[in-house]
Symmetry: C2
Subunit: 369 residues, 2 copies
Amino acid sequence: MSFYFEILKTENKARAGVFHTPHGDIPTPVFAPVGTQATVKAVPPRDLKETGASLVLANTYHLHLRPGSELVREMGGLHRFMGWDSPILTDSGGFQVFSLAQINKIDDDGVTFRSHLDGSKHRLTPEISVKIQENLGADIIMAFDECPLPTDRQIVERAVARTGRWAARCREAHPDMSVQALFGIQQGGIFEDLRGQSSETLRALDFPGYAVGGLAVGESKGQMYSTLDFAVPMLPDDKPRYLMGVGAPDDLAQAILRGIDVFDCVLPTRIARHGAVFTPDGTMNMGNLAHARDERPIDPECDCYTCQHFTRAYVRHLVKAKELLAHYLLSVHNIRFLIRHVEAMRAAIFAGTLTDYVERFLGRYLATG
Amino acid sequence: MSFYFEILKTENKARAGVFHTPHGDIPTPVFAPVGTQATVKAVPPRDLKETGASLVLANTYHLHLRPGSELVREMGGLHRFMGWDSPILTDSGGFQVFSLAQINKIDDDGVTFRSHLDGSKHRLTPEISVKIQENLGADIIMAFDECPLPTDRQIVERAVARTGRWAARCREAHPDMSVQALFGIQQGGIFEDLRGQSSETLRALDFPGYAVGGLAVGESKGQMYSTLDFAVPMLPDDKPRYLMGVGAPDDLAQAILRGIDVFDCVLPTRIARHGAVFTPDGTMNMGNLAHARDERPIDPECDCYTCQHFTRAYVRHLVKAKELLAHYLLSVHNIRFLIRHVEAMRAAIFAGTLTDYVERFLGRYLATG
């Protein structure tokens, strides 16, 4: 069996496990850095490996537009193309179409849109999304879904129905799960009955993994957590559960407590490009004058390349001088910070101390000082 | 003795040797990548080490303006600040003042100028340049010189006289050569008698190394080579000879034939940021459509990280998508290309085959196809 999810230990709702894939094992819970255009911005693959990353997400929408999925297939697939031999996950392209492209038409069959790059016209349907993802060749691929604002009940209702029909079509378009595992995406916004309805449809289709979609797109953190309270247990216990687009350190903790296994987020690399870093005491802006003569590393508790070799003073200089190396050093630290955080929670689940860990972590991380 | 230059083998005018410094040995001939603002753009120090770099140049003008040489000194000096424990060379700041800043006043004492960053007013004199370079703490530091356009005899004459007086003041301001070796800079443009005059003044000051300045700033390649023909033999045989700001592969070959030992240039990292790479067949623009489906590495003969792991197709994708990783991958290749080229010439000098190597290299590199 190419894909197999093992749960090794639980603590309340939280789970520590391993998701076995053809490109290697993914210890869960896991945080996946995002390589939108087949590169985690500014970080070479070997350095990414060194951060402890075991899974990388790439974006179907971006790669479809440039360089095109056929080209990636001809070049041997994403793993070979981007020089990353560990597991890869691609999203369905749906979220980016709705957030980046100019939509021309949405109907029950799919979406017609114009590229944000050159205005060229494109069409995505469940079948086309699956085909593109097959060309890209990621280990985990996602069903094409409609992702609405989570708090408008009428819109969410329609999205749940459509996402269910599209999930069935994706499942039919991708019957063989031995090389690429297709995950279904639960929708339903913040509404318990709609999450229930969506889950029922998806469970009937028997996916090898399930995502909680439509969160972290505008609702409050409180709404996200209370939605996870009821939405996660609706998904099968024995399959990996993936919370899409979530990566803030506090959200990772809250979601792992609620039984999530897989995360992805652009946050560590995006805030890096704006000069910000994660620390156990919250985020920190490295451009601040306070760091100008500070000989400490960004985070004295961190084992990343950046913190092992460079002072805050140097990093601040690079940020102020707008040097390319700043993007690299800050991205490496931020990715390692999140992965170390998730590794610590995995270890805590094995030790039965997750609740303590999260309480201590949040007490410090969220303290306003 | 902290600094000691050994010539191990010669072939005609060319020399293979070792320049011993407090931060390690520099095998010569050597090409030094440029880390203008205390970072070789986009390349982490450990990756730079992997390219074979044994010497890095940093710019006094830039570091004086930001973050300031006092700050670098407080942070333990440039080596510690930028995480580079091998030899470092700083220039005097003169060239950048004349090319980047807005000059307010030049007189025999020094130069008053406005920063290109914020318009703030600054002054550089031989003594101030030495002091800044002492704060920065590089192994090799340079005398403050006036670098004129090399073809205007009247201007060059004045610069030779002034550079000589400034060299004497630098020498006096930096009497102890045990920690930092101060190199003198020969001026004289393309004029043999002026180069002779400049050399005489400098030789009398007994520097541990000498640079040929004022070339590669507007004259033709032919003029540069014929100037080197007479200018290099005017410098002491037993000291390293440094051709400032030169790094084109053909120029490196021509200058090594003529007895140059040390080079620095921004070329490999600058052309990388414009999507261009060195190859044995000349430079190549990686954005070209021709590379879109090319599974070969940039240079099949290259042993750099980029060529060992990535296809032209992937590199082209990164260049077209304006991805940060492109700067890293192209810079690493270009630096390694020049260092490999210089390493090959050093080996050829030991083998007595330099003339053949250069002929073959130039025949291929300069062929227009």
